[in-house]
Symmetry: C2
Subunit: 109 residues, 2 copies
């Protein structure tokens, strides 16, 4: 079991599979807004030409806050390149399916 | 007082001033999501070629839900034309200013 976990971790470093680890992407969760702002700014400072901010459900509003704070307070020359909304289907543990809205905002340096 | 209210109503019918009454615009508030879905569909049925869904703050996620439900469940041929995000400054009664994120989503029939 432990071996398997180690293997998975290595694999993720080479070929990121999960959202949170995807290249130049910040997935907004339940932590404080400023943490995600910092994550976006850090990715730009590390050389990313474009950063994608993603969120689902009620966290969509926080994703918009993050992008607005980045471009108004920290990176006045950056601009929103593209915004897409979609519906994702989540399967919960009991097998029931729930639809949830999602947003994807691309910011360019 | 009553006369004044009647006058205001007439004026709003001719020249809509408030957001909620703006032409082909649905401003998403705290009521149930389906009410706003119905409002959008009704505007399309009344001949609007494009409807704009607007929201601020935490209600941004509800606006995305509204648009997703409209285009997936009620109007499968409609498409999202344009999404814009912005920051609005609200002045509260005590004079303090608060910034709040806003979204504007245009759907085309």
């Amino acid at each position: 079991m432990e071996e398997q976990m180690t293997e998975q971790t290595t694999e993720q470093l080479e070929v990121p599979k999960e959202r949170e680890r995807a290249l130049n992407t910040v997935f907004v969760g339940k932590k404080g807004t400023m943490g995600y702002v910092l994550a976006v700014v850090t990715q730009f400072n590390n050389g990313a030409p474009e950063v994608t901010v993603k969120a689902r459900g009620k966290l969509i509003s926080r994703a918009v806050d993050v992008v607005e704070i980045v471009r108004h307070r920290f990176m006045p020359n950056s601009k929103v390149n593209n915004i897409q909304i979609s519906t994702e289907e989540l399967t919960s543990e009991d097998g029931s399916k729930n639809k949830v809205s999602a947003i994807e905002i691309k910011i360019q340096k």
